[in-house]
Amino acid sequence: MSLTTTQATVDHANDPPETNYLRAKSGLRSWLLTVDHKRIGVMYLFTVFAAFLLGGFFASMVRWELFSPNYDELGVAIEGGKIFEGDTYNRLFTLHGLVMVFLVIIPGIPAALGNFVLPLQLGAKDVAFPKLNLASYYIYIVGTVMALWAAIAGGVDTGWTFYTPYSSGVDGSVVMMVMAAFVLGFSSIFTGMNFIVTVHKMRAPGMTWERMPLFIWAIYATAIIQVMATPVLAITLLLLAMERVLGVGIFDPALGGDPVLFQHFFWFYSHPAVYIMILPGMGVMSELVTTFARKQIFGYRAVAISSLAIAVISFLVWGHHMFVSGQSVYAGVIFSALTFLVAVPSAIKVINWTTTLYKGSISLDTPMLYALAFLVLFTIGGLTGLFLGALGIDVHLHDTYFVVAHFHYVMMGGTIIAFFGGVHYWWPKMFGRMYSAFWSKVTAWLVFIGFNVTFFPQFIMGSRGMPRRYHDYLPEFAEFHRWSSYGVVILGVGILIMVVYLLHSLFKGAPAPGNPWGARTLEWSVQSPPIEHNFHEIPTVVEGPYDYPLAGDGGATKA
């Protein structure tokens, strides 16, 4: 029983303001050499967002090309149909994938939001290894520079999946790009290591595992995957580079190797990687739904354990990317079964978030709009995964636009939407400013509508047979592609408005109170923005993270 707003015994959210972490030290050096997790998180936030805009630019080029087919039914060239040559188009879609996967979605929530929030939510003054944290950021920058260099120098047109033997021998900066991903992997690994140790060793007194916010559980499960899966990507990429440089021959049949072996190696990392992408988003969801419904999460233990279950099972399903690759029928059956198993914990989370809303007090602030968007879009993405997990259907749908739509619904409709939600939720804490409620809600609707207009038609054209990674297509698919391209315009407008009002808030936004949303986790028990060392004294935790009061109690009791 507590009279404070948060889990801690004492709240400092509304104390007289002191110098915060943004102002404590000034000058470029103080940022470039910072070991403050909050500053590192902010640097990641801006860099990841910039990478997102770059990846979005490539996507816009792709959809510009695909707005119209290049030839009509009679084989006559359509004016304005072809924008880019095939080689250029192939580089554009490859770069879109590489930038989005390695520079945006994998680091995204953990690095930009996790870095900032995790120590605060745990009641710690920093992560376990602050210098390693800064190193993670610089490694990310080095990897990014290498990737950009590779993109400009020779370009890469292999697709982000680098399948051999095409990637073993094609011209272009494949080795440089592959080594860029190798370097970026270390950033991911070090962040994961840092977070695991921080969660184990640096929780505030009284914060048992079951009093940890679910965002932490999600980041923790993600970190486990980061640590265990990324090294396998590292060795895969290294082997591909050696294949190109030395002609080792393990993946190239002309040299005695096996292309399907590459696929096994690649997807052994890349499937768990997609859970690195979604789990943090699910963690954000748990925070948003509880805060904006003023409710205890329904099924705390189930949500926490399901994060770990997803992390473990995610290592067992990689072969579902390879049902028609030539792998054995029996392997396919096993992978299909395990794939359906991994759907269950995700389904549990979705129903638990929805049920949390029951009898709550629901406020539709912008972060909550994103949470509701996630619920709808991730549900579609997850449900459409069922088509793909079923062997008999996957034969038809594999490598069509159905798959493209599915993964965009989960990665963008899921992770990116959750990322936007988290940014809008923690923005007042990070910068001490409120952004425009009106424009942020407009944007949320534009993003939601634009997203659906872009990607829903892709399900239909996919099941009708439209293959993916196609520079040009048969006229029968033209209408779907047109709608899809229109959707990108709506999305783009929304995101540009977002950039404007967020930047504007940094200079002109209303000062944010310590706890603008009335949430209960520890980051809301300090001023906005926090002081450099987060807490003067480490708080003591006496309750769960979502022990919201009931109506009529004035905050004095819980159910």
Binding site: P119, A124, K125, D126, V127, A128, F129, P130, L132, I189, G192, M193, N194, I196, V197, T198, H200, K201, M202, V227, M228, A229, T230, P231, V232, A234, I235, T236, L238, L239, M242, E243, L246, G247, V248, G249, I250, L255, G256, G257, D258, L261, F265, H533, I538
Partner: protein, 216 residues
């Protein structure tokens, strides 16, 4: 110098126990990632060997088992010396064991250097004979097809391991220099422990590589 320099616990930790427990957990996690990194190569080894059993037998017979065994003994000895260095740091009360820690680390580094010298001889013999990976393969002493695959795996596994040996030598050198300055004593010897753990893994990986490449 026979004094110690007191270690200041980093500001975000409560005390040195939390700090050293965190560091130990961190290095163990890192070692897990290293095992997974090498595991990819072990999988490649398994697949290629299973698909080319005759070739593998012929090609692996060209390796010098004696030199491999010498390297194994050298690395095991180096693990012993680094463990003794950790022990010395643990029992270093006032700096009386600074030189001992540094000396044991130095011997470890010497063993590591010996390992690399032996590998140099092995590698240069192979280069001379044309037993090279991939498209550079030019040896005609093996009848079976695809022998370049064996040497690809051999050089990748021992090469990646060798890189880790070099990195370990650098790490241990840094720890050795700091130990001479009196940084490590009974209440703080984490870097010696972390360096030691890393080195044990480097040794352990070789203990798998040796039989897999040289003996089967």
């Amino acid at each position: 110098m026979s004094t110690i320099v007191k270690h200041h616990v980093a500001h975000h930790f409560y005390d040195r126990h939390q700090e050293s427990a965190s560091a130990k957990m961190g290095i163990w996690l890192f070692l897990v990632t290293e095992v997974l990194l090498f595991s990819g190569l072990f999988v490649a080894y398994t697949v290629i060997k299973a698909l080319n059993p005759e070739m593998w037998k012929e090609a692996s017979a060209t390796l010098n088992t004696t030199l491999g065994a010498v390297n194994t003994v050298v690395l095991i000895a180096s693990s012993l010396t680094v463990a003794l260095a950790v022990r010395a740091a643990q029992t270093n009360q006032h700096g009386e064991k600074n030189k001992q820690i540094a000396g044991l680390l130095f011997v470890t580094i010497l063993f590591a250097g010996t390992f690399l010298v032996v590998k140099y001889f092995e590698y240069s013999h192979k280069f001379h004979e044309g037993m090279l990976p991939g498209t550079h393969y030019a040896f005609d002493g093996i009848a079976s097809n695809n022998a370049h695959l064996f040497f690809g795996v051999y050089f990748l596994m021992t090469g990646l391991h060798g890189i880790h040996v070099v990195l370990g030598m650098g790490l241990l050198t840094w720890v050795m220099i700091r130990s001479l300055k009196g940084h490590f004593y009974k209440d703080y010897y984490t870097p010696v422990e972390v360096g030691g753990l890393y080195w044990h893994l480097v040794d352990l990986i070789w203990i798998y590589l040796f039989p897999l490449l040289y003996l089967v």
